[in-house]
Amino acid sequence: MWFLGFVLLLLKTAIVLTILLGLAAYLILVERKLLGRFQIRFGPNRAGPFGIWQPIADGIKMILKEDTIPQGADRVVFKYAPAVVATVAILIAAVIPFSRDAILWGYDIPMVISDLNVGLLYVLALSSLSVYGVALGGWASNSKYSLLGGIRGAAQMVSYELPLGLSLVPVVMLAGSFSLVDIVNAQACYPFVVVQPIAFVIFLIAAVAESKRLPFDLPEAENELNAGYHTEFSGMRFALYFIGEYVHMMVLGALVAVFFLGGWRGPWLPPVVWLVLKALMVPFFLIWTRATLPRLRYDQLMHFGWKLLIPIALLNILATGAVMLWLRG
């Protein structure tokens, strides 16, 4: 029996990984296409119709590129830092429920790789570990652009982890559980975005900062730091950073869907389609802001996080607790 469970687990993992990495690869194409349209040009359109083979061409190019390691770099740390970013982003997907439980030959099969009862903390723990990929990649490159990018990345990600975690406290209070499956089940009547709009906005902003996208892309600010922490990386190591970033965007989208938009719940369409549609809204929002907003200055970024987002998130927790107590009488 345990063997069957193991096979099932492997199957679920394979399917989730395929969908996640496929979506992440095509997100790059979608981003380039959309950015092109936002800037009144076409975007990639040479590789196949509408440029649909572009991600594959990019992948082949990346594999064939020379893997350079700069002189004076810390070789071991340099080699493994990109893997941290990609691994951590992919591992978060393990706790995201993608459908209601399936009943197959009388067995109840949960449609999630692992329903941890502390799933939300697992998400926060992993996203706090992704700082190491950025900070160590920047440090190990032995280049001042990279080091500055790495330091900026570490400070920014540590700062924005706090509003990210605090904005989820009201969600846990409403759902009464850390489990992502329970959180989705608690949204059977209405999605939490209706009762927690402030937490939703804070989570979204903190998520943009966590994924280091414009207007918060100070760690890789092109006009002052070349490419920031991944300046010295080439070939597949650079591609791993890239994949990590886009997988992170997809995962953050799925988390927004699970915490605030009701997860896989929705009428008519199958649950998985709903989850993917909701999850894709966040990357689209990120691309749109990238094409629209200018980059913040670094002190503005820090002030915004510490002096605005964290106090509002704390007040939101207090208000939620007060209202919950009041409603219960």
């Binding site: 740390v77 900070a135 160590l136 440090w139």
Partner: protein
């Protein structure tokens, strides 16, 4: 040996080895990294004992926050520590002293409760039980600790504040 025991000894040796590496490295970034491995190893150990809540707190607080701040400082300051022996003499005394203290406490705990039931019971508590226990029984301690943290925060703010009054900005 059961599978459980095998995993335990594997994890324990990883933790011991990485902690040993952490205290003997002269390269501070490598030392921080080994310490992170050690923390993640202890988190896995908590998982093995059936305490995922504690394990994830360990990762979030120690590996994800405190060690990142350490790494941040090491990267910013970049101290030159290439000279000197691995363990200078003036670090030896505090090391022996604290090591001895921890050894005494550890032996005492092991002698009074060989099966480790009391410790394990608190460790495997669910988040809800843990919250009820802490805020119902030990609210005074919680308040005192939060006050200390607030004082630390205010102290940091005071130290970070600029002493000199700002000069009027040049007209642009």
């Amino acid at each position: 040996m059961t599978l459980h025991g095998l995993i335990f000894y594997l994890l324990a040796s990883v933790i011991l080895a990485s902690t040993g590496m952490a205290i003997t490295r002269r390269n501070l970034v490598h030392a921080v990294l080994y310490l992170v491995f050690s923390f993640i190893g202890s988190a896995l150990l908590f998982c093995l004992f059936g305490a995922p809540f504690l394990a994830l707190l360990q990762v979030i607080i120690y590996a994800g926050a405190i060690m990142v701040v350490f790494l941040f400082i090491v990267m910013m300051v970049k101290p030159d520590l290439s000279e000197g022996t691995v363990l200078p003499l003036r670090q030896l005394l505090p090391m022996v002293l604290f090591g001895f203290m921890y050894a005494v406490v550890g032996v005492l705990v092991a002698v009074t409760d060989p099966a480790g039931r009391a410790v394990l019971e608190t460790a495997v508590a669910k988040p809800t039980e843990f919250g009820h226990y802490v805020f119902a029984r030990h609210y005074l301690a919680v308040e005192i600790i939060s006050l200390i943290l607030l004082i630390g925060l205010m102290g940091a703010l005071h130290l970070g504040r600029e002493k000199v009054p700002k000069e009027p900005e040049e007209p642009s």
